[in-house]
């Protein structure tokens, strides 16, 4: 029958895991709010190994301490490997070999964080898009513009909830708006 710790033993294990988590935090110099996650990780690993614990061969604290030690060395290795794979530098750090430039100066917009998140990075294309939108919106009737303005801030679902008009009417207007923008040459809206 697998060993099942009592409440007092569980409390002792938790304190031990807490202590080991603190050691990991100090060893790796990571923020202290990681402590709870680490403790959780250590305890989960221990509970998975409790099946192999034999009370006749030693006490629980010793077994737990050994398990925590092994798990802690694994976690430390993982954290250090992850840190070694990245080189944390500031965009404001000077560029090596060019003291007048910063690291940020050497990065194009296409290599930036915005590009990673799918944001447009071509400034000329953005200007073109703005002109296209201005022209397309100019073809819409004036009464459609307030709806366009509302759609910038709110989703159609939120609009339907807040608006006194029925949801079907709103979606009919949206369909018409999409087709009118499509006629004006803005295909992404349809």
């Amino acid at each position: 029958m697998p060993f099942s710790p009592s409440r007092a033993e569980l409390n002792a294990l938790q304190r031990l895991a807490d202590l080991m988590a603190l050691r990991i935090i100090r060893a790796c110099r990571i923020p202290s709010h990681e402590r709870e996650d680490l403790r959780q990780d250590l305890l989960a690993d221990l509970f998975a190994r409790l099946r192999g614990f034999d009370p006749e061969r030693g006490n629980l604290s010793t077994f737990a301490f050994t398990c925590f030690g092994h798990r802690a060395s694994q976690l430390i290795g993982r954290i250090l490997r992850g840190r070694a794979s990245m080189m944390p530098v500031s965009l404001d750090d000077p560029m090596p070999g060019a003291p007048n430039l910063t690291i940020g100066d050497g990065l194009s917009e296409a290599d930036g964080y915005g590009a990673l998140l799918g944001q447009p990075v071509d400034a000329l294309a953005a200007v073109d898009r703005r002109l296209d939108l201005d022209r397309a919106l100019g073809t819409l009737p004036q009464e459609a513009l307030p709806l366009c303005a509302e759609l910038i801030e709110q989703s159609p679902h939120e609009l339907a909830k807040a608006s006194p008009t029925s949801r079907a009417t709103l979606y009919r207007r949206l369909h018409e708006l999409r087709l009118r923008l499509l006629i004006a040459g803005i295909p992404a809206s349809a």
Partner: protein
């Protein structure tokens, strides 16, 4: 000629007529006009439109008839707005090609985007 028609049986030949696989939808008609330059042509229906869209003739299945009605209404709306010419060419007895010809676009008022963004800004601040 795949994907297009050539009419030579009348006084003038219409070459390189852009056609989608018929029937086309209202969205396809709008998308065509969105990219059309003046003079571009699109055949949006082939048959006898007045009869084909009538719910009394049962010539087309109901969903297809409604789709054709929407296409015809949209073509008429574009024609009334002065954006296209709608013409028809007889192909056979009681069979016509309904053709939209893109016209030059009228100038639009600029500053619409600014108006919309300002209105959105005001709404955002009022919340």
């Amino acid at each position: 000629m795949k994907g297009g028609w050539v009419f030579t049986n009348m006084d003038t030949a219409i070459l390189d007529l852009r056609t989608h696989e018929l029937p086309i939808s209202e969205t396809m008609l709008c998308a065509w006009f969105g990219t059309a330059v003046p003079g571009d042509r699109l055949a949006y229906h082939r048959g006898f439109l007045a009869i084909d869209v009538s719910p009394l003739t049962f010539k087309l299945p109901e969903p297809e008839r409604r789709m054709l009605q929407r296409v015809a209404d949209r073509a008429l709306q574009l024609a009334e707005a002065g954006l296209i010419h709608v013409v028809q060419r007889r192909i056979a007895e009681d069979e016509f090609a309904y053709i939209a010809i893109a016209r030059s676009r009228p100038p639009t008022w600029s500053g619409a985007l600014e108006t919309v963004l300002k209105a959105a800004n005001r709404e955002g601040q009022s919340k």
